[in-house]
């Protein structure tokens, strides 16, 4: 069932892609134009994904509720990191990331926090000080 659903999803993406791709035009100078290659890609993708809907192959076992929730939590931490990196600054946000993912992966909370406390300043020092790739130490909430 999952394979069939995936086939439908990919088919829709490919169909939308082809639909949008068809309309790209270049005014001149380019004989083939920007639309042909997307169409060349989109149509076989639609055919192949349709064949997955009709003749699916393979079985998918999805995780149970508890593990699914853990996955969602991990995604929330990762996205939260992307959003909070500028406001919090690098070491603080990274501490949250390491400790958070560590706990979600089943580590003991205290150990995970120690891990974050050790590695977040270490990574900041490595990139900002040693490699010369600038990273804000404190975010714009503090400055």
């Amino acid at each position: 069932m999952s394979v069939r659903l995936a086939g439908v999803a990919i088919f829709m993406i490919a169909a939308l892609y082809t639909w949008y791709g068809r309309d790209y035009t270049a005014s001149f100078g380019d004989v083939l134009g920007p639309a042909v290659f997307p169409v060349i890609l989109g149509i076989p993708t639609m055919i192949l994904s349709a064949s997955l809907v009709v003749f699916p192959s393979g079985q998918v076992a999805w995780p149970d509720r508890e593990h699914g929730l853990r996955q969602l939590a991990a995604l929330a931490v990762l996205l939260g990191y992307a959003l909070l990196l500028r406001p919090l600054g690098f070491p603080l946000a990274t501490f949250g990331l390491i400790a958070g993912i560590g706990v979600i992966l089943g580590g003991a909370p205290r150990k995970a926090m120690i891990l974050g406390a050790v590695f977040s300043p270490a990574l900041w020092a490595l990139f900002d000080q040693v490699l010369g790739l600038p990273l804000a130490f404190l975010g714009n909430w503090f400055t």
Binding site: V31, L41, G58, W62, H67, A112
Partner: protein, 504 residues
Amino acid sequence: METLSLLAQGFSVALTPLNIALLLIGCFSGTLIGAMPGLGPVNGVAILIPLTFAFGFDATSSLILLSAVYFGAMYGGRISSILLNIPGDEPAVMTTLDGYPMAQQGRAADALAISGVASFIGSTFAVIGLTLFAPMLARMAIYFGPADYFALYVLAFITIGGIAGVDPRKTLISALLGLMIATMGLDPISGIPRFTFENYHLYDGVDPIVALVGLFAISEILLLLETAARDRAKPIGIDSWLPDLRAIWATRWTVLRGSFVGFVAGVLPGAGASLGSVMAYSMEKQVSDKDGTFGKGDPRGVAAPEAGNNAASGGALIPMLSLGVPGSGTTAVMLAMLITLNVQPGPLLFERQPELVWGLVASLYLANFALLILNLPMIGLFSRLMMVPTWALLPIVAAVSFVGVFSISNSIFDLQLMVLFGVLGYLLRKLDVSLVPLVLGLLLGGDMERNLRRAISISNGDWGVLVASPISVTLYVMTALFLALSVWLALRDHKRVKRRELLD
């Protein structure tokens, strides 16, 4: 034999105590930079260029330090491929196919040693080829027109079909999705934005490193969360700290074949190391995968792409030095590095500055040698990563991936895109869709499309141009033979399985 004496002179210049020290430091720090997901040879060299100014090294010493970092980072990319299933850079993608399964079976040390030795032999092969044939090969590469490049990419994608996965339809879909993602961004030919949703962050397209790290690293975390906390995710462990020398010796022919295929792919400007490793892997699979062990931890599946991509990056120096055409991101950085050192690659470089060319060749060779010497003893250290429990290892991998990507692009958008690719990667892996073809589609798709359009522009709309040159016809014949061979092998295996079933 003038070239040989020039090469010998190059070695004598390179072998001073300062240079040897730089060589070792460069290899070591390059390996570490390369091992961090998100940072590869491109960033490693770019980061170090200002440093060589700061110390005021002369051209030879700078060249040695930067080549050492370059090769160190190339090698470092394999370490995370093998140990974590996360390629550190683009050409290391193929190494995950058999390298990670080997590590999972407790053979991490073997896999690391095989990849080290195969890399060394691949680049030695390329250096020898470079020494003997460089000017001649460069002149031949000129006659490779856009239609011929298109044919080459067709061949590459057909061979990808044989790489991985149970259902060939899924492999094809994966490659097509990668090609579709490659069309996102400003179209370099017409300048119009395609599939960018009016978002400026997508105008440069999807950075392959962002996709790579998201697809592999973040999906790995999601996948592990399915079982983590249930068994507290015990570390995998390793059987032996020391590599098995017989296993290395057993891959000798694989390594030579891979080196040859990779070198040929590398000499063509624009094809680069990724193509070299793909071609080497899929050719090797066709030639020697009789029991279907490729993709399940076959040492030959590590040796072939490693030899291939190192031979290709050596071979790619030929068009870079003699024509000034950078074949890939990594050779582009080498080019930038040479220009910074006041060496202008081009048709006259070999005549005008032979001492620098051969100094570079000698330092590349020494860097490879140093890498081999340095890394074999370090295998134990790196393998130790396998002992770290997942709850501690993966958060750090995630943090390093994020900071690696962010420190280069300063883009929050890239981080979000990376998470999105992580979800995509997870879903595809659940559906038994191999991620490798997707990454290759993303890497090669832009060039494939542009060369098709260039060919049609040159012929003013006549599609016949695609089969008008002897080179492209040869490539299409090879593609057809490859397809026929794959079908024949599949049928034979099918019969064999049937027969076995009958016997049971």
